[in-house]
């Protein structure tokens, strides 16, 4: 396995304190004053040249948010967040509305280069087969800088743009679907996001269209003390198919940064959406200082018959992760999938899982969750599988495995299974164990070092999920997992 040696090299060269993506880009940015009030929301809305209904929508969310309190049920601990000590709007100051990459701030491009994003179309065209091309909608702090491949997607009828642009150019679509999966009142962070979201991606795949390439958004938090509140909305019309990749890296910061995104997916009849995430934001240093707070609401609605939504996530970053990508299986014969790898090390805390809500007939879902806990971290799987009274023949299979590395970490499993229909068949299994001495001995006996052995065994442990990732992400994900576990053995 040639990836192993490369992984080990990466692991050696990167220390927890030397977070690879921990560089700061110095670009002037355009910020709203700190804090949150109706004026800030009006400012954001005005900056984005949004229609009047959108402003009302935001203000309504804000007023609702004021009456809500932060949820405390997750197994995560962190100092109370001062929501008035955050910049809610921050945009890189470059020439307004870049027409081409040449107009984009070169420092910004350099940042992406360090992150390894194939932003320049010609690079991709030169290096990669057309089949594997990836369209990137890069979100830098709160503003989508440039969307590549837009032209080609346009030919296929696919709309792929920032949500601000969508609000300007396709307001009827946004109005129809925004908030229809995650309502404004859904939860504390989703409501906050509804009030202040600044950007995100919008994808619309028309009837019968198979999106010609993988779509990708690269999120990156840069400006100090800015919350990142992006909003993603993906709509797959009848018979459409789209695969969407979301990758996240953030530079190193001392102060905790808040991230509260909302992602909504809508799959109509016979449509399929595949949503993959690799999240490797700054997890905090060795003492647990700094790191991103990641409070995300992701939900997919299998609205049509025979529709399918598949979530795949590799979570290696963030100081705190609070994330439950879910599927509402409304249409008959619809299918939801959730594949997850959650790796925690250092002082990271992950509380993640999924909800599969079976409402339609003959719906099925599958959950494969692999948690790896090392250092002094806490890793919790929390999930719900429920069958509504009318959800006859609902079917779920859940497997949650946890691997513990080191004696100071914790791994927890909290599944809820609620069946209100006798024909629903639900199966759940969970295991928790450490890497067995036998496995280690076997590898060492064949000349692998401790770290190589752990990397090999862990990669085997997560294989079921890695297989679900698009090829572009699979290799990166394997490396990330090894990097994240650096220092956990020996």
């Amino acid at each position: 396995m040639p990836a192993v040696q490369e992984t080990i090299d990466r692991v050696r060269s990167i220390d927890v304190d030397q977070y690879k993506y921990g560089f700061i880009t110095d670009i002037e940015s355009d910020k709203a004053p700190k804090g949150l009030n109706e004026d800030i929301i009006r400012f954001i809305s005005a900056k984005k040249e949004e229609p009047e209904w959108m402003l009302e929508w935001r203000l309504e969310a804000y007023r609702r948010w004021l009456t809500m309190t932060e949820p405390t049920w997750a197994r995560v601990e962190y100092p109370k967040i001062d929501f008035n000590d955050i910049y809610y709007y921050s945009a890189p100051k470059s020439a307004p509305g870049p027409k081409s990459l040449d107009e984009v701030d070169p420092e910004l491009l350099a940042t992406y280069e360090k992150l390894g994003i194939p932003l320049r179309e010609q690079e991709i065209l030169a290096g990669v087969e057309p089949k594997n091309r990836v369209a990137v909608d890069a979100v830098f702090d709160s503003v989508s800088v440039v969307t590549t491949f837009k032209e080609e997607l346009k030919k296929a009828g696919v709309i792929f743009c920032s949500i601000s642009e969508a609000l300007r150019e396709h307001p009827e679509l946004v109005k129809k679907y925004l908030g229809s999966v995650v309502p404004v009142t859904d939860n504390f962070y989703a409501t906050l996001n509804s009030a202040v979201f600044t950007d995100g991606s919008f994808v619309y795949v028309p009837e019968g269209v198979r999106c010609p390439m993988e779509l990708s958004t690269y999120f990156r938090i840069n400006e100090k003390n800015t919350g990142q509140f992006e909003r993603t909305l993906i709509i797959a019309e009848k018979g459409a198919y789209v695969s969407y990749l979301e990758g996240c890296t953030a530079p190193q910061r001392d102060e905790n940064q808040l991230h509260a995104a909302v992602v909504e997916l809508i799959a109509l009849d016979d449509a399929e959406i595949k949503y993959s995430t690799v999240q490797n934001w700054f997890p905090g240093d060795k003492e647990g200082k700094g790191g991103i707070y990641n409070f995300v609401t992701k939900r997919g609605d299998c609205r049509g018959k025979n529709s399918k939504i598949s979530w795949t996530q590799v979570e290696t970053g963030s100081a705190i992760t609070w994330k439950y990508p879910s599927c509402i299986l409304r249409g008959d014969n619809s299918r939801g999938e959730f594949y997850s790898i959650a790796v925690s090390n250092g002082y990271q805390q992950i509380d993640s899982g999924t909800k599969m809500i079976h409402l339609g007939k003959n719906t099925s879902s599958r959950i494969i969750s692999k948690g790896i806990s090392a250092g002094k971290s806490q890793n919790t799987y929390r999930g719900l599988v429920s069958a509504h009274r009318k959800a006859s023949n609902a079917r779920n299979f859940t497997q949650c495995d946890s691997l513990l590395i080191g004696q100071d970490c914790g791994a927890h499993t909290v599944p809820y299974i609620e069946s209100k229909n006798a024909t629903a068949v639900f199966e759940h299994e969970a295991t928790t164990s450490k890497i067995s001495d036998d496995q280690m001995f076997y590898c060492q006996q064949r000349g692998l070092s401790d770290e190589e052995a752990v990397a090999l065994i862990v990669n085997g442990f997560v294989k079921d999920v890695i297989q679900q990732l698009p090829m572009e992400f699979a290799v990166e994900a394997q490396k990330l997992i090894s990097i994240s576990l650096e220092g956990s053995v020996g």
């Binding site: 791994a411 609620e418 006798a422 450490k434």
Partner: protein, 441 residues
């Protein structure tokens, strides 16, 4: 929504508060016990009856269930108690055993085999009496059970019960049955049974919960303290009348090299919650938990258990089977905790449920909470209906559908029944299961 609504005190909460103010001076125990009761009562006043926003009681909303709470039952005369017991089912019939009788929450030594047990090496005392002398230590519960709402209420109101003590090395020749009988008048009861097994003691304890009327509220607690190398089997059968609200808590504390088997069967009561709290305090011990639950016709039954592996080298096994019939609701919540440093823990939990009717409901919540790395823990949970293929197979061989269904339910439960191991319990439980199935056929 995360807004916490302010709920006004319910009628049942008022009833309980009034009962406390009325009865507190008459409740047994010295100043220290009174203090424990008071602080438990204060906690109750603060949080009220547990409801769906209390995570542990999420699926069993006691506040919504209890419309009112009848007064706590006074002690019956021995004759009344005898008549009450005689009117109820004798679960173990002719089987040879010692018998201890609790009626409406009060222990009746006159109807019990106290002298015979003393000869066999076990002493029995009424709790009301024991509380006066050793009060404080008798009321203490392990941490995982102490914070629970129902054990708290039991601490406030427990007026009687019994203390069964097995001397070091004592080994009882026959099982001891503890009958918890409720008379036909609706009342509240809150007894506590404490079983202490000193080092190396061996015993089989059978607890039966029977009787009651519409509106009865029984909140019982059985506290088993199994010392080093002790071997204790406790089989609990709850078959109360359909209209009762029953909370049965079993608390088990294991010493080192201890073996405890806790078997629970729940068939009766309109709203039942069976709680088990297992605390390992010494190394090399093993706990086996078995649950067999069968409900129908609007019944609500909740099996909640917490297994606390606080020390290394202990094993626990949990196997829970639930059959849910028409209009009934089943709940299983099981949590295995492995504390830091409790290395080499082996915990395996399985819960399976069979839904017999379209309007049956089942909620499952198996939990693992693990803070040590060198452990083997797993849980499994399933929910489904009778397999149509199996049914077809049996019918194609000439077995009528109703009989085939009965067979398949029996087969589903048999895995747990086979694990029981004690002949007297197996026979009694099998008879109950048969009767339950016949009643539904």
């Amino acid at each position: 929504m995360t807004i916490e609504p302010r709920t006004l005190e319910t009628r049942a909460e008022t009833d309980l508060a009034e009962a406390y103010y009325r009865d507190r001076d008459a409740l047994p125990g010295g100043a220290a016990v009174a203090e424990i009761r008071k602080s438990a009562f204060d906690a109750f006043r603060k949080s009220g009856l547990p409801h769906r926003r209390v995570e542990e009681w999420k699926y069993s909303d006691l506040r919504a269930r209890l419309k009112s709470v009848p007064a706590f039952a006074a002690r019956r005369s021995d004759d009344e108690a005898k008549a009450a017991v005689a009117a109820l089912d004798d679960v173990y019939g002719a089987a040879d055993r010692y018998r201890l009788v609790i009626v409406d929450g009060h222990f009746h030594a006159g109807l019990s085999d106290v002298a015979a047990l003393a000869a066999a090496g076990a002493s029995v005392r009424p709790l009301a009496e024991a509380l006066v002398e050793q009060g404080e230590s008798l009321m203490q519960l392990p941490e995982i059970a102490a914070g629970d709402a129902a054990t708290g209420l039991n601490a406030v109101f427990c007026a009687d019960g019994l203390v069964l003590s097995l001397a070091e090395g004592a080994s009882l020749d026959k099982p001891v049955e503890i009958v918890h009988a409720l008379s036909a008048a609706a009342a509240s009861t809150s007894e506590r049974v404490i079983v202490t097994a000193a080092k190396g003691a061996k015993a089989i304890v059978l607890e039966t919960f029977v009787g009651g009327a519409e509106g009865s509220f029984s909140n019982t607690l059985t506290d088993i303290r199994a010392g080093d190398e002790a071997e204790v089997t406790v089989a609990r059968l709850q078959a109360e009348a359909a209209g009762t609200t029953h909370i049965g808590t079993a608390v088990v504390t294991l010493g080192a090299e201890t073996k405890v088997k806790l078997i629970g069967a729940g068939i009766g009561s309109g709203f039942a919650r069976h709680q088990s709290f297992i605390a390992f305090t010494g190394e090399g011990s093993r706990a086996d938990l078995l649950g067999i639950t069968m409900v129908r016709a609007g019944q609500h039954v909740d099996q909640t258990l917490v297994v606390d592996h606080a020390v290394p080298h202990c094993d626990s096994r949990e196997l829970f089977k639930t059959v849910v019939g028409e209009g009934a609701k089943g709940i299983f919540q099981g949590k295995i905790i492995v504390r830091p440093h409790a290395q080499k823990t082996d915990g395996q939990m399985m819960t399976q449920s069979l839904l017999l009717s379209d309007d049956a409901e089942m909620s499952l919540k198996p939990e693992l909470e693990i803070f040590a790395d060198d452990v083997q823990c797993a849980h499994g949970a399933t929910s489904g209906q009778i397999d149509e293929d199996l049914l077809f197979y049996l019918r194609s061989r000439g077995i009528p559908e109703a009989e085939a269904r009965t067979l398949l339910v029996l087969a589903f439960l048999s895995e747990a029944v086979e694990e029981i191991g004690e002949e007297i319990v197996v026979e009694a439980f099998e008879e109950r299961i048969r009767a339950w199935l016949d009643a539904g056929a």
